[in-house]
Symmetry: C2
Subunit: 354 residues, 2 copies
């Protein structure tokens, strides 16, 4: 992609958070420039920026917008402003843990720089947000390497939702492997599910992969079972919005059924996610809060009403795939295998965080 | 519903095949009046009329339109016209067997009346088409009775696509049970999947059930697994487009994954279909031809492009549910249980057709 998914443009004082407005893709590539934190909050809530890693980055930059103009006299006042704004941004989406993870990093950074004058403290916050973005880029590249090794012998993958450059700083999580396979001249082919209700597969994944010259076939979500049964795909690769300590994984609605179907068809099912998507404080997936979104997303998908307007709806944005259906989890620190409670714990120990 | 799904209106000589144009629902209730067989063929092909039993009825009436003006001098010429037009109509959709079944009945009827003068022969054909329609109505009521008994203790069902009045002469196949439960003041609640790509669940099932005052909740296809996991439904009921001798069942794309998921969640999975949907000549589901439809149905669902226009697509209209995932099959002659090879054979013997 020619534009980064989300980035800071300009100086601390007058700069903006620039992001591709993903709700307008693939019809229109428009860069949204946010000057106020509430614009970032709105962009998060309405999925102008989405994808677990990308919303972490956007929130970090959003926090900088929120406090750069602060005239707090004391450090305590400033820190409580940081906390209040972080809480505000965290309320935009409840499921992906990267949002809270990134905001926590920002809050810690503020505390690490309390002894410095306010302008320096603010500059440290912007530096930290940029670091989060840069680390995400490096993380994508490492996941791509590990994943590519895991997928030796695979020629076609099935994927769900969008886990590409648009879901991260660049490259992606699950799709980073696809991009890497192309670089290495052993390109993977992709079946992409359209991913109702918001059609991230049709609008974003198909668009990204076509732009990159990758062989992609778009299917309805309900055709994935036939695609597996007919032997058209060798494995499933998806991302994650939150992974519990036991490996249970929340991801876009429709992921869980793919995992059940993959098992039924003897096809490996892989999660690709950075460690920032893990929430080791949650014992299992049952504790992950699942965002329920407006029925309008089902009823009026393209501005056009497709059902009786008074019909009841149920629209969970995510589902939880139990660890038992997950063949392996690709992270930036290597591939995790079952039992996940142990392999996840070890990953965090290696990282010095548990 | 105030209008029948499809019916003959008027005399043999000047009458029309009238049908609800289902592509315009729920926005608009328009009655399409066909005077020429090619209009019926087009209506079949573009799903203005759909649902296995309904397309059988429409095709039978279409055949009457096709030959009512015939000036064939000899009976042989007339019969070959009947055969040619039946073949033409049969080409409109390849999967649902009811289409071929109804047209075969019409061809047989023509042969049974060869000794009569042409006007009488034509009148016999119209009578036979009306008989097919009337039998379908009675069949729906009998399936409703058998199904209602089977579903004792069930409070909420999950259904896919549209199997209601709009899919048959009236009442429906799977949904006939829901209507019967309401008549008996023990109403079933319904979760309806929207059924991409053509959204028969959102457009037709939700509309029908709301009109009838039934408690219906619309979900995306990919949310069905969550609905099962959360214990929101007690069983799955769907229709069928063709059932092989071993019980393997072709139905709307997305049915097969529901059967796998039902098994995973310990939920019964029921097929509701008249004997006219069975094709005992096919040993298994592998022999059922699966219609592949235009990618435009995925890319441009409501006239609006939702994906890059040049992306490849794969759009099978049906999938096959293996018999092993089917708890029981409800027919007008009772409930069939596994092993289906035996129970299906017995059903046809009872009927004197095998």
């Amino acid at each position: 992609m020619t534009h980064p998914t989300v980035e800071w443009q300009g100086s601390l004082e007058t700069g903006v958070v620039a992001m591709i407005d993903q709700t307008l893709l693939p019809g229109r590539l428009k860069i949204l420039r946010c000057r106020e934190v509430k614009q970032v909050w709105e962009a998060l809530r309405t999925l102008r920026v989405r994808g677990a890693p990308a919303i972490g980055i956007a929130a970090a930059f959003g926090l900088v917008l929120a406090v750069r103009g602060s005239r707090a006299r004391g450090v305590e006042t400033f820190l409580s402003e940081v906390d209040r704004q972080a809480k505000y941004l965290a309320g935009a989406r409840p499921t992906a843990v990267n949002l809270f993870w990134a905001l926590d990093r920002m809050r810690k950074t503020a505390r690490q720089h309390v002894s410095e004058p306010l302008p320096k403290l603010k500059a440290a916050l912007l530096r930290e947000a940029v670091t989060i973005q840069e680390e995400d880029l490096a993380t994508s590249l490492r996941m791509a390497e590990h994943g590519f090794t895991l997928l030796r012998g695979v020629s076609t993958v099935l994927t769900h939702c969008n886990t590409g450059g648009l879901a991260t700083a660049r490259h992606g999580t699950a799709l980073s492997i696809v991009y890497r396979s192309q670089e290495l001249k052993r390109p993977l082919k992709v079946y992409a599910t359209e991913t109702r209700p918001l059609l991230q597969g049709a609008r974003l994944t198909a668009w990204e992969l076509l732009e990159a010259g990758i062989d992609v076939t778009l299917i309805c979500d309900s055709a994935a079972a036939s695609v597996m049964r007919e032997g058209r795909v060798d494995c499933v690769i998806v991302g994650a919005d939150r992974i519990a300590a036991n490996g249970d994984t929340a991801n876009k609605i429709g992921t869980y059924p793919l995992s059940v179907l993959a098992k039924e068809h003897g096809i490996p099912f892989y999660i690709v996610a950075p460690l920032s998507s893990f929430d080791p404080e949650l014992e299992s997936g049952e504790e992950i809060p699942i965002e329920e979104r407006a029925g309008e997303e089902i009823l009026r998908p393209f501005g056009k009403l497709i059902a009786p307007p008074n019909v009841k709806t149920y629209n969970p944005a995510f589902d939880v795939t139990p660890a038992k259906f997950i063949t392996a989890i690709v992270t930036e620190r290597g591939v995790l295998h079952p039992p996940y409670t142990r392999s996840i714990q070890r990953s965090f120990k290696d990282r010095g965080e548990a």
